[in-house]
Assembly symmetry: C2
């Protein structure tokens, strides 16, 4: 079955806001075997809405309309759906009473406008909204001779998602053939995107019943595999077979077969071996520590770090000899190595990482261009350093450098 998602709201037609609910809804719809064929974004104009709803009903079986269910004059979804289907609206007594009770519990007078939210389309089922005042509505109607399922859901993500899960999904499942979904997400680090595709395309193109999506960002590649079959075993078997062939091809670029982030994997290995980590960052300015500590429970293995942006602090906090900085420059392999081993010794961590480089946009020279980064890793036995030149702006250089650092730690732990 094919679905269309219409997001209603003039704010999503500005340069500032985007519909994001639809990504969540698409995931849930795909899992029950529904394809999203169209997404539309329409402003708060009744005529535009009616036209978009009629267009959608002419081309899909399932229509989800998000937003426009609030109390203001701009909230026109109820009226527009009723008009598109030539149905009437009735004011629901129980909903009116609930709105009054809600206002009373907050000790506020209820504005007359609020009563709009009690308007129900003829024949619609009211979908209770546990997280807001505007209920959803569900319609199972004939439109030009075809059966159409239509759900009106509120726009705020905190209302839209739970209401869709509890009220819409079960109703959709009830009319769809049973289908089970198996998913896997593989992740790989620091493999060039073109090389990943060259390695993997000959494999995944053989599995036409598994949907493979490849996402790449700053040295990180995600491979999303999804397969739907009448039984879970059948779906799982196909996904697992494809995943294991891809894993083999990716070799040690692969860092997770279960969708974990590189930070999570590094922390997992550290925990498993009861090792600890500390970092000394210059050009990445805390981004590496921030990525690691974004994982709950990071404190078990991550002791901390220093952001040694100024040269004297490289000495104060990471014990880098001032002579070394004078001789080789702050952006150099020896300084990165000294940062890695220095932070390891100062903190008592098992592993130390040092990063120094030129994130840009200025500060580059002919010998040391913007994007040049030295990344060192130190354990009690040895200290290694990598020289890399990353392309892109300041943000990208910092992202790549931290990704490379995490991958170095992973490889040292493997």
């Amino acid at each position: 079955m094919k679905a269309e998602i219409i997001a209603v709201g003039s704010e999503m037609l500005t340069p500032f806001r985007q519909d994001t609910n639809s990504l969540y809804l698409t995931d849930k719809l795909n899992q029950i075997g529904v394809t999203v064929a169209f997404k539309s974004i329409v402003g708060d104009r009744r005529k535009d809405l009616v036209s978009a709803i009629r267009t959608a009903l002419g081309r899909v079986d399932i229509l989800l309309i998000m937003g426009g269910l609030g109390p203001t004059e701009d909230d026109l979804t109820r009226e527009a759906v009723a008009e598109a289907l030539s149905l009437t609206l009735r004011r629901d007594g129980a909903l009116v009473a609930a709105l009054h009770a809600r206002a009373a519990s907050w000790r506020i007078a209820m504005p007359q406008n609020n009563l709009k939210q009690a308007d129900v389309i003829e024949g619609a089922t009211i979908l209770p909204n546990a997280n807001g005042s505007a209920p959803g509505q569900w319609l199972d109607v004939a439109y030009e001779g075809y059966r159409k399922l239509i759900a009106l859901v509120p726009g705020p993500p905190s209302e839209c998602k739970p209401l869709f899960d509890t009220e819409c999904l079960p109703r959709l499942k009830a009319v769809l053939p049973p289908r089970f979904i198996a998913k896997r997400t593989l992740r790989a680090a620091m493999i060039p995107e073109s090389q990943a595709d060259k390695l993997l395309a000959p494999i995944y193109t053989q599995y036409t019943d598994v949907e493979t999506t490849i996402l790449a960002h700053a040295g990180d590649i995600q491979l999303h595999l999804i397969c739907g079959k009448p039984t879970l075993e059948a779906a799982q078997a196909r996904v697992d077979e494809l995943a294991s062939r891809m894993e083999e091809a990716l070799d040690d670029w692969l860092y997770s077969s279960q969708g974990d982030s590189l930070e999570q994997i590094v922390l997992y290995y550290l925990g498993m071996h009861q090792l600890t980590l500390a970092v000394a960052e210059s050009c990445t300015g805390g981004l590496l520590a921030q990525r690691i500590t974004a994982v709950p429970g990071a404190s078990r293995s991550f002791l901390g770090g220093v952001v040694v942006y100024s040269d004297p602090l490289k000495t104060t906090f990471a014990g880098v000899p001032p002579d070394l900085i004078a001789q080789y420059g702050a952006v150099s392999a020896p300084v990165a190595e000294a940062m890695a081993s220095g932070i390891r010794q100062r903190t008592g961590a098992t592993l130390g990482v040092g990063i120094t480089g030129i994130a840009g946009p200025t500060g580059g020279t002919e010998g040391k261009p913007v994007g040049l980064v030295y990344i060192a890793i130190s354990d009690p036995h040895k200290t290694d350093v990598l020289e890399r030149t990353f392309r892109g702006d300041r943000t990208r250089v910092r992202e790549w450098a931290t990704q490379q650092a995490l991958d170095l730690v992973r490889k040292r732990l493997m």
Copy 2:
């Protein structure tokens, strides 16, 4: 004039990818007085594309179609536009030659498929693409008796945006009445969103000719003001008048009248007063340092910081007396104060910031719940500390805590 943007590509109908070009195009269109009335996302199916194009031509004057111009079988935009308009495609000799030259310069054989990119719709102007192999196309046609402007532009952002700017914008401007746009962005920190709206709505609703968009995220509020008039002076005057009334209402919540980020403002004040800053972070794990160092040139005023995730490191790097931690706990006002003054003294910075708290999801207790954060600021004269309990998940608590810290620094510098 009203426009519709159609993004073409099945990948944008998955849970993983979203059209983002349209935000950029919307901004540019708004600046020349064009309203985006609809956005649509359509997969790589010819029938769906033709239907979406006809629907769009029935409701807007300007149609931008992004994507589907590449060499693969899935790239169907040229064919679909031609079919929707009942026009033919011709293979352009000069484009064929250019494709051959491009392949030759890369010393690769040209796949037959590539020639699709030389197909031009009858009557279309070819729009050169400096950043890729697929050119855009421009049509100025009559559809059901009305004049329609149609642009086909490539999907990759690095091709779409420059091609739109250099080829489409001038053509659109040539047919639109002259219009000048004035913009301002005001930013405020740590004001509750509802309070901002209560203060500002009575003001901005009086300026119906200025479009005001309010965005709020983790203690940061952005107010985007846009006004279009026949002269720049007229537009500027209206925006400036509204901006100055809003500035007054926001009082010292306002930190920028020109759209700068809070990090930029803090660095600007530090530079102006020739002061330096260093930070000691526990629960924010480097996020504060990372936000500051994301600004180019931060090194002029930001010396560095420490991420003292473990208790011993709070002593090693920020000089927090172990007794203090034993007596009050690592998450306490005295420890935050000791971190702020300790990092200031250790680094020789003028200002020191200390943050300690419980970011969650676990680690909370009855007396010290998840979200509790102490933020201290220290200068040579005094050290102050704030206690805050932020709501939301780990990411939100960390974002709010760093926002509060930056705002504390700003207020100390004012």
